[in-house]
């Protein structure tokens, strides 16, 4: 049962990340392979505060969310200035740079060895140590994230973002502030990723750069593509399905040495297959 709970907890954390990536990729239409970098920044900030004892969990989570809002806005700003293809370069560059920082800045991140012993999350002094307690907390967090996404999408705000994805120039000609809308979407996506990072670090109690590298960003992108763009259902289905897949891979007898590449290979195949045959994903709209 604990095994199933831990799957649910991870799935809920990745639902937050899926919402974040879907906002950028699916709703605003920006190609991003750097959301795992923002996720990582959230995780390291919360871990550092908790390990040094300077802040307790909820304030640390709030700081991480604000930092990731600022970071994601800065990262997305180039997409306002340069064309889509140049943003691909920006996004790859940011992800590789972030990996370099996570791996080499031993002072803040523990380097390649990572940070062990991150304390469990606590709410106003009550530590959440049991898996079921943490599940309760992640369920609330993911639920709030889903509610925020759903409210945004059904409001005029969501309509404006969808219109921007289709034709920025026409939106500007209709008298709208395209810049402000895009920046706010990036901020929202940053908040989701930052909170997900903080919760992830405290649940796992150990983090290292491998959870926040290019492969992790590709996984997030795959979740959006498989789940489907712009819908709440798609943002939930993607993470739930993709986190279950590695468990299925374990049923097939694959030597452990190639397990990681087999998993990434599967993500690549899924990206291609959905791009060609089902650009709307399992439960979304066309990318």
């Amino acid at each position: 049962m604990d095994y199933f709970y831990s799957y649910l907890i991870l799935a809920e954390i990745y639902v937050l990340l899926g919402l974040s990536t879907n906002l950028l990729v699916g709703v605003v239409g920006i190609f991003s392979v750097s959301q795992a970098a923002v996720f990582g920044v959230g995780a390291y900030i919360v871990s550092d505060f908790l390990l040094s004892g300077t802040l307790s969990f909820l304030p640390a989570l709030a700081v991480a969310a604000v930092a990731c809002i600022v970071l994601n806005v800065l990262l997305t700003l180039p997409s306002l200035r340069v064309s889509g293809d140049y943003f691909v370069v920006t996004s790859f560059g940011i992800q590789l740079l972030a990996t370099a920082v996570f791996t080499n800045w031993t002072g803040g991140t523990g380097g390649a060895n990572g940070l062990p012993g991150v304390p469990p999350p606590d709410l106003f002094g009550f530590p959440l140590e049991e898996t079921r307690q943490i599940l309760g907390f992640t369920t609330v967090a993911a639920g709030l994230g889903c509610l925020a996404f759903w409210l945004s999408m059904r409001a005029p705000y969501g309509r404006l973002l969808k219109a921007i994805r289709e034709d920025e120039l026409a939106v500007a000609a209709a008298g709208k502030d395209v810049l402000r809308a895009k920046v706010s979407a990036a901020a929202l996506a940053g908040a989701f990723a930052g909170v997900a990072g903080g919760v992830y670090a405290t649940y796992m109690s150990f983090i290292d750069p491998s959870s926040f590298d290019l492969d992790a960003s590709v996984l997030l992108l795959t979740m959006v593509v498989v789940g489907g763009a712009r819908t709440l259902a798609g943002s939930i289905v993607g993470p739930v399905v993709l986190l279950a897949l590695p468990q299925l891979l374990q049923l097939v007898a694959i030597p452990t040495t190639v397990a990681a590449s087999a998993r990434q290979l599967l993500y690549g195949v899924l990206l291609i297959a959905f791009a060609v045959f089902r650009p709307q994903g399992l439960a979304g709209e066309r990318l």
Binding site: D85, Y86, V88, A100, N104, A260, L265, G268, A275
Partner: protein, 286 residues
């Protein structure tokens, strides 16, 4: 002396990445596809050459064999992935995602077949050192310099002097016009990607002679190459090559003041500076 050595090392590797940049720029200018999977073709080239050498094939033939393999892979990506997507009127974003998917498939197939550890080439002449007035150059570096410059000159000659090259530039400047004048853009696209794949195999084999092979090793060179293409101005093959050399030289010189792990930061900083001040590149046409 260290400065000079770093400068020379930078120029040598820069020429190799210049070839990556020029081949990528040729694809991008013609098809407008941001061909991320090109990094996978680059990586495959090195592994194919390694396998052929391991089976006792002589070096020049191993290079040619690897180039043939890359040509087939590149053409296959265009024919079986990009062309169907275009027929389905896929958005630009979907083509990018598919290209990223192709890169992931290539990289991880390589990792599954060869393992994800670093593979070293063992070629005696490549590690032999020539000393030129205090400068140390390996055989691999000399080969890299010579073959990269030859590949670059060959690409320029091809683009400007051959009929196919002129057709490609016509398609690049106006696909619609090319279509109604029966230049058949689609056939041209396959040819362009095939040629670019053959060419990118050359640095794909040469760079790992020194550094070794790694399944995921193509991403950083491709990033450098795309930055060089943008900084040089899309459409200017010479600009792309020149900026690849400049970026790699700056990366190498940065080793004087910071450890090598941060060179990606140097590369990226150059890109950010260009985006802020010259988003259309230095030699942009039109």
């Amino acid at each position: 002396m260290l400065l000079l050595q770093l400068l020379v090392n930078g120029i040598v590797t820069g020429c190799a990445l210049g070839v990556v940049a020029v081949s990528f720029a040729l694809v991008y200018a013609t098809t407008r596809i941001f061909h991320i999977a090109h990094a996978g073709v680059y990586t495959l080239g090195g592994y194919l050459a390694w396998s052929l050498l391991a089976h006792g094939v002589p070096e020049p033939l191993a290079l040619l064999g690897a180039m043939a393999g890359c040509t087939v892979l590149g053409a296959a990506i265009q024919h079986f992935l990009y062309a169907p997507l275009e027929r389905r009127r896929a958005t630009h974003l979907i083509v990018l995602i598919a290209s990223l998917g192709a890169l992931a498939v290539i990289q991880n197939l390589i990792a599954a077949v060869y393992s994800s550890d670093i593979l070293e080439f063992t070629i005696p002449w490549a590690s032999a050192v020539v000393t030129l007035g205090g400068l140390r150059l390996t055989g691999a570096q000399l080969a890299t310099l010579a073959l990269s410059l030859a590949a670059f000159v060959g690409m320029l000659w091809f683009a400007h002097r051959t009929l196919l090259g002129k057709r490609i530039r016509a398609v690049a400047s106006n696909p619609f016009l090319a279509e109604i004048t029966r230049l058949e853009p689609r056939a041209v696209y396959v040819t362009v990607i095939a040629i670019a794949s053959a060419v990118v195999c050359i640095p794909g084999v040469l760079v790992p002679l020194d550094l070794g092979l790694q399944p995921y090793g193509g991403v950083t060179p491709l990033l450098t190459a795309t930055i060089a293409m943008i900084a040089g101005g899309v459409g200017s093959l010479g600009g792309a090559f020149l900026f690849a050399v400049v970026i790699v030289v700056l990366q190498n010189l940065s080793l004087l003041v910071m450890p090598g792990e941060w060179s990606i930061g140097v590369t990226f900083a150059i890109f950010v500076v260009f985006m802020l001040f010259r988003p259309r590149g230095l030699f942009a046409a039109g």
